[in-house]
């Protein structure tokens, strides 16, 4: 009997190594796997590259991870927020490397990583600072930029319900990057509000099939 449910968030971090690329779900705080990030901080692996839409808020979650000194580089679409002062300070001090990627290109690169494409031509960002030096091509009269996949060692995502085979559902707009990050990572860890019996999630309603998920951690008292 296969059981992907792992008892604690910290235990789930045992595979994270120095230098890993880690995808972290969430858009702002919605869908940010806060408890998994706390465990990643405790794991204390160094020189991580983090891929996430934002660069953390206030003094929680992703912001705390940056503060912990474990992160060498962050790839994101929108690092600057009203309460992203931890990132802002690290960036201005030259203590963290930043790669800004248009949000849809970030999604497309993650999807390419998960689906085995070698590269994709996207129209987004053509002619802008963010694609300087990148290969371009005009196809049917439209200008495109060649963008390469993002693949990761580990993904940390927040889902809603999960089962022992790793099937996941999400809650409202907290779905955001979860499903595509799960597919682009060698080892995907999902925190869920509830572990349900096999079959309790209708097969028509599974959003992330278990094939993309390696560990499920139940975070108590976190339900909506």
């Amino acid at each position: 009997m296969l059981n992907k449910v792992t008892a604690t968030a910290l235990e789930a971090m045992r595979h994270v190594k120095d230098g890993d690329t880690v995808l972290i779900g969430g858009f702002g705080l919605a869908g940010q796997p806060a408890e998994l990030i706390d465990a990643l901080i405790e794991r204390n692996a160094k020189e991580l590259t983090i891929v996430s839409n934002n660069a953390g808020n206030g003094e929680t979650g992703l912001a705390l991870l940056l503060k912990s000194g474990c992160v060498r580089k962050i790839i994101c679409s929108f690092p600057r927020q009203h309460d992203s002062y931890i990132f802002d300070a690290l960036y201005r001090a030259g203590e963290i490397e930043l790669e800004v990627v248009p949000q849809g290109t970030l999604a497309a690169r993650i999807q390419a990583g998960g689906s085995g494409l070698g590269a994709v031509y996207t129209p987004t960002g053509y002619g802008t600072l963010l694609t300087e030096g990148k290969e371009t091509r005009t196809i049917d009269g439209v200008d495109y930029v060649l963008e390469y996949p993002i693949k990761a060692d580990v993904a940390l995502i927040k889902a809603y319900k999960g089962d022992r085979w790793g099937n996941l559902t999400y809650r409202k707009a907290a779905r955001n990057f979860g499903p595509i990050m799960a597919a682009a990572s060698k080892h995907t860890i999902a925190q869920v509000s509830e572990v349900v019996s096999l079959g309790e999630i209708d097969p028509e309603h599974v959003v992330t099939p278990g094939i993309f998920v390696h560990e499920v951690v139940c975070i108590e008292g976190e339900a909506a």
Binding site: F27, G28, S77, Q103, A107, Q111, L129, A174
Partner: protein, 215 residues
């Protein structure tokens, strides 16, 4: 010089809302464009899309019904209409990049006469770059409308011949709504569709960094 009153933020939003037809899929950018939602006709089905995986956004909830999992791209609490749906970021940007969004309304720092838009980065030494979905929306939406002040706080024109600031997307703006006028970006240049009462065409031209044409 004649007397005129610039349009207020609400008046501009209302003016944009008048140009949105039933059945359109619309993405309203962060900030001033978000206000357009308040003036959409309640009796028409107009679909509001948010980059973070929401279609069919409804009005803001009262405080008791705020839900941290239900926010828009500006990270404000929202509601979902009956008939709305949730999806992941891949699908959300497929909607944008794939040309399925009929209209996007964006704020801007500058718009050039050929429709180039600058709205993501001022590029000053202390600034931290952050783009979000701006570049996707600029190139992906079928039509891009811009809301901005006609001139900057210093009085400099924001409608220009060529951009001074880092570009977001090339030749993508179709119409500009300012506090003074509504201007179409056409193959024949900038065409003034309407102006606030009491403002002359010449006065508007004087506040504009590119050549305007009357409609």
């Amino acid at each position: 010089m004649s007397e005129y009153t610039p349009r207020s933020v609400d008046e501009i939003a209302k003016r944009v809302a008048q140009d949105i037809d039933e059945g359109m899929y619309v993405n309203l950018g962060i900030g001033q464009p978000t206000k357009v939602a308040d003036f959409l006709p309640k009796d028409k089905d107009i679909f509001l899309h948010s980059e973070n995986g929401v279609l069919g956004m409804g009005p803001a909830p009262d405080e008791a019904n705020q839900d941290g999992d239900l926010i828009n791209a500006g990270k404000q609490y929202i509601t979902l209409l009956e008939g709305g749906s949730y999806f992941h970021h891949g699908d959300s940007f497929a909607m944008i990049r794939g040309g399925h969004i009929d209209l996007c309304v964006l704020g801007a720092f500058e718009v050039a006469e050929n429709g180039d838009i600058a709205n993501w980065f001022l590029g000053r030494p202390k600034d931290i770059p952050a783009v979000g979905g701006a570049m996707d929306l600029a190139v992906g939406a079928k039509k891009v409308y811009v809301i901005m002040d006609h001139v900057s706080k210093n009085g400099d024109p924001k409608i220009v011949e060529t951009l001074n600031l880092p570009i977001t997307g090339e030749r993508c703006v179709n119409r500009i709504y300012t506090d003074l006028a509504v201007i179409d970006v056409t193959d024949d240049g900038l065409v003034v569709r309407d102006m606030v009462d009491g403002l002359s065409f010449e006065a508007l031209q004087a506040k504009t960094g590119a050549t305007l044409r009357p409609a």
